[in-house]
């Protein structure tokens, strides 16, 4: 696959099977068993391909675009087909495509209405095999047109090729699925009508050549130049004379019958037809129409514009389901002359798979147009040229009325600065001339060029009259005033902009009032006054001030509001602990000699404490009483605990059995447990015994 931006060209793409009905036959025999018989297989296969109508999704693009207008004189019309094998799918000779793109101008052929497909080919030709649709359209052309503009059989392979592109390349692949596409070129460069100097509509038809290859013209004697005004064929000439209505002709009524009669009886029509057919190289001069083309130009121009307009209207208004059919129908306008009704030449019909029309509105192409542009700065009058706007057209024939001249316009009054003198109706009703220059000037303009101000900036204007200037020659220069006025009108024409301006004004006004109040309030404080002055106008100052005071306070509250309370408070100091040695405090408090404490700390061993005698309080009468009471209370307490333990042991038994798994987390029974056990045993004996 070629890389993006590149493409590869192939001469053709051969389909494995051309369209048609096939029979597959299968037989089987076994040499070792000659007597064995098998049923032979017989299957039917149909290879389909479009024949009378191309489904729209087969078309990738066309050039020139359908219904477009432009100078396409140097470009060959083309159609790009999605299916790469399509141009060869019905070919009898694998080298020669069965499709051709022919381009006919208005009047050179007739595009029929929907007809049965049997009627879509020249009478006498029959196309065998299955058809894709029941009805189709066909192109009717005379033998002379076929001879002049149709490709020869040898041309067909040259006009068709296959292009291979990268499918990711949006510009080249245009959304194709496999990156291969078939291209069919036309063999005709569409020309501008130089005789009548008017645009020509062309119809590009993709036609089916099946069974009619022999109709195609033989190779002719080539020339290396062509005369663009040469006459090909124009059915419209006859039509104009007899006012044939294509619709009536189609229905076989009205003028057609008359016309055919007239033609058969010979006479002027026949002579003229024969004349134009015989003298094929005759230049289609205006004489044939009996008047100079210039006079009829408005009419023909109108027709062409009408046709293009109609197609556009149909495209916009048609219901979506029928749009494609109706648009194609509308494009036929101008290609519906009932040629078969009046010509004595051989007439051929070719099935049309698809067709589109375009208009050549100018001579040359893009390159010619760009090269012939009149280049200059704005404010330059066009350079005098013989005929810059119109393409070179044929000279009017001698004796014809002179071409209508354009109404002469006075040259604009143009100043070197780009100013244009324009009529000015003043407010008092005087008709004078004033200078005007738009925003587009031929010179570099300095933006701030007001001579009356220091920096050159024009002070803001509030009405357009402030911008009116009088230039040294005594006339007014209304450029800026006009600009101001159109700006004002443009703003007024947008209700949303007016609303936005008014809303903005209200906001500004509120801000100004806030500023005024601040100024008044802070009038005595020089500091604030300066600050307010520096900033200028502020909107919504009050809200801002409040928010900012809070934010600033939050940032530095110790200074603005109050010192911060610490996270935790220290407790009250204990008096006797203050400024005393800790050992001394311990020694006094617990009655341990100071020396023992020191030894304990040195050895890091608390066993020395066992040797310390417990201080006993001096005997006293009140103490004795106390001892008995204490003894009693203790006994009671021990009993209570023992009872508790007894009660608890029952729980403990069940507890232990269930809690075996938790053993690890349970502490080993220690001295206290032993004591409790003893107390509990004693208590139990007491109770039981």
């Amino acid at each position: 696959m070629p890389q993006p931006g590149h493409f590869r060209l192939h001469g053709r793409a051969q389909p494995p099977l051309v369209a048609g009905d096939y029979v597959i036959e299968g037989d089987q025999s076994i040499p070792e068993e000659p007597s064995a018989r098998f049923d032979s297989y017989r299957g039917h296969l149909r290879v389909t391909a479009p024949r009378f109508r191309l489904p729209p999704d087969h078309i990738l693009s066309t050039f020139p675009p359908a219904n477009s207008e432009g100078a396409y004189e140097t470009r060959l019309p083309q159609i790009v087909l999605r299916r790469r094998t399509l141009p060869w799918e019905r070919s009898t000779d694998p080298e020669v495509p069965w499709l051709a793109l022919v381009v006919i101008a208005e009047g050179e052929g007739e595009l029929s209405a929907e007809k049965k497909v049997e009627d879509c080919v020249t009478p006498g030709v029959t196309l065998t095999g299955p058809n894709d649709v029941a009805t189709g359209v066909h192109l009717t052309v005379t033998e002379s047109v076929v001879k002049k503009i149709f490709p020869t059989k040898d041309d067909l392979p040259l006009l068709t090729h296959v292009r291979e592109v990268d499918i990711h390349d949006t510009e080249l692949a245009m959304g194709d699925d496999d990156g291969f596409m078939a291209v069919v070129l036309a063999n005709r460069l569409p020309q501008f009508d130089r005789v009548e100097c008017k645009p020509i509509r062309y119809l590009a038809c993709l036609i089916n050549l099946e069974g009619q290859y022999d109709v195609l013209p033989p190779p002719s004697e080539p020339v290396d130049r062509f005369i663009a005004t040469e006459f090909v064929y124009d059915a419209a000439l006859a039509l104009e004379q007899y006012q044939i209505d294509p619709d009536l002709a189609q229905m076989g009524v009205g003028h057609v019958a008359q016309l055919q009669q007239m033609q058969r009886s010979g006479g002027a029509t026949r002579a003229r037809q024969a004349g134009s057919a015989a003298d094929t190289s005759s230049v289609r001069a205006g004489l044939q129409k009996g008047s100079y083309a210039g006079a009829s130009q408005p009419k023909t121009m109108q027709q062409w514009q009408l046709a293009t307009q109609t197609v556009e209207n149909v495209a916009v208004t048609a219901p979506s389901g029928e749009a494609s059919r109706l648009v194609r129908d509308a494009m036929k306008v101008g290609f519906r002359f009932p040629i078969e009704g009046f010509t004595y030449e051989r007439v051929f019909r070719f099935p049309v798979l698809t067709h589109w029309s375009f208009t050549v509105t100018g001579a040359g192409g893009f390159e010619t147009l760009m090269r012939n542009l009149d280049v200059g700065l704005l404010g330059t009058l066009p350079a005098p040229r013989e005929d810059a706007a119109r393409p070179p057209c044929a000279d009017p024939p001698a004796g014809a009325a002179p071409p209508p001249t354009a109404i002469a316009r006075p040259e604009p009054e143009l100043a070197e600065t780009g100013h244009v003198g324009l009529p000015h109706l003043t407010r008092r009703g005087e008709q004078i001339r004033a200078w005007y220059r738009g925003p587009l000037t031929p010179h570099v303009m300095v933006r701030d060029r007001d001579p009356e101000t220091e920096d050159g900036r024009t002070p803001l204007a509030h009405t357009s009259d402030q911008l009116r200037r009088v230039v040294p020659d005594g006339r007014e220069d209304l450029s800026l005033a006009a600009a101001f006025e159109i700006g004002r009108l443009l703003a007024l024409s947008h209700p949303s902009i007016v609303a936005a301006l008014m809303r903005w004004r209200r906001e500004q006004f509120g801000a100004a009032r806030a500023k005024k109040i601040v100024e008044l309030a802070a009038g005595s404080v020089a500091l604030l006054k300066d600050a307010v002055h520096d900033v200028g106008v502020t909107a919504d100052l009050g809200r801002l001030l409040g928010r900012s005071v809070i934010l600033a306070s939050a940032k530095d509250p110790e200074h603005v509001l109050a010192p911060v309370r610490p996270l935790k408070d220290p407790a009250r100091p204990i008096e006797f602990l203050v400024n005393r040695d800790i050992d001394e405090v311990l020694s006094v408090g617990f009655g341990i000699p100071l020396k023992t404490l020191h030894t304990m700390r040195e050895r890091m061993d608390a066993s020395v404490l066992s040797e310390v005698p417990v201080p006993v309080s001096p005997k006293g009468p009140e103490m004795a009483i106390d001892r008995d009471a204490l003894q009693h209370a203790l006994a009671e307490r021990v009993n209570a605990i023992a009872t508790d333990v007894l009660r608890g042991q029952k729980d403990v038994i069940t507890h232990r059995s269930t809690a075996k798994t938790r053993k690890r987390s349970e502490p080993e029974p220690d001295a206290l447990d032993e004591l409790l056990d003893v107390a509990a045993r004693r208590r139990r004996e007491e109770i039981e015994g």
Binding site: A71, F366, Y436
Partner: protein, 330 residues
């Protein structure tokens, strides 16, 4: 709670507030806080680029822009300023409004200067920032505009780019397009951010086209056609260029005689196409690439000095008379 506030503290805070805060944060546009609300700013910037201004205000006389012409110009900033002032005047009702707008106007002007550069920002391009400079542009009135929708327009500050080269959007010498719009089916307006030395206008690159180059062959309405030869092995044009004549069928204008043309193609040395021509080889020779017109190439001198066209009738202060564009055909 007891709070102590001293006068100095309050004053300091208020000073901070008043000096540090941007006035009137009215929106959150992509330019950040501005004085002018965003919708107004965008409208005024579009107005600066002449959006919506009637065509007769741009070109007061049709002869200034005749059919099939291109006219280059400088944008008059004073004119667009007046336009903006007119639009702003809608929002003032009384004299205090006007006094206020007068104070505010320099800031508004600067903001729209910034905004006008981001009116048209195509995907890959970054917007230029800073104060507005000189704006130039052209008006093209031609059938090329109506027949070829989607013309490519590029402008360069200096002529460093080869006439056939492709340059991406980010090239430093490439001027940014402020506006590119069809004002009418056949009238194209382009505005550039700066003064270009060269302007390229190119045919749209839609698909691949086939065709010839037409050449007048003496007599009236008589044409010859040719195509520059390409080598079938490389796909490139031959160096030096060798033109191959295209032959036509007698009596039918524009109908190509393929047999003779194919012969001509085969007989041209260098095309490397073997003994027979097929569809692909024919197509290769007929492919036409988009045409590019270059304006302002200094290597070609103007046939007629543009000054000669002007007739001085009004005395007017001009600080800098500079004529950059000249008629050039590549």
């Amino acid at each position: 709670m007891k709070v102590t506030l001293t006068a100095t503290q309050v004053m300091n805070v208020m000073k901070d507030v008043v000096t540090s805060t941007h006035p009137a944060p009215t929106d959150e546009g992509d330019l950040g806080d501005r004085i002018v609300p965003r919708d107004l700013r965008q409208f005024l910037a579009r107005l600066r680029l002449l959006g919506g201004v009637p065509f007769s205000y741009l070109v007061p006389d049709s002869q200034l822009l005749p059919p099939e012409s291109i006219r280059f110009f400088y944008l008059d900033r004073a004119w667009t300023d007046a336009l903006v002032q007119g639009a702003l005047s809608v929002g003032t009702v009384n004299s205090s409004d006007r006094a206020q707008l007068e104070q505010l106007y320099p800031a508004i002007r600067d903001e729209i200067d910034e905004e006008e550069r981001i009116v048209r920002v195509p995907g890959s391009e970054g917007a230029r920032v800073g104060r507005a400079g000189q704006v130039t542009g052209f008006l093209l009135r031609s059938r090329a505009v109506s027949g070829w929708p989607g013309l490519h327009v590029r402008a360069y500050r200096s002529d460093v780019v080869g006439d056939d080269e492709m340059v991406d959007e980010g090239h430093p010498d490439r001027l940014k397009l402020l506006r590119l719009e069809r004002l009418a089916p056949a009238v194209l307006l382009a505005l550039f951010d700066g003064v270009p030395a060269v302007v390229h206008i190119e045919e749209p690159r839609q698909g691949v086209q086939f065709g010839v180059r037409l050449d007048s062959a003496g007599g009236a309405n008589t044409f010859r056609a040719f195509v520059p030869a390409r080598s079938a092995s490389t796909g490139r044009d031959l160096e030096p260029q060798r033109d191959m004549r295209v032959h036509f069928r007698a009596g039918a204008p524009g109908v190509i005689d393929m047999r003779k043309t194919a012969e001509e193609f085969l007989n041209t040395p260098g095309t490397n196409m073997g003994s027979a021509l097929d569809g692909a080889e024919f197509a290769l020779q007929m492919i036409r690439f988009p045409y590019r017109q270059v304006f302002g190439d200094p290597s070609v001198t103007a046939p007629q000095p543009i000054d000669a066209v002007f007739r001085p009738t009004v005395a007017y202060t001009l600080k800098n008379l500079e004529v950059r564009f000249s008629e050039v055909i590549r």
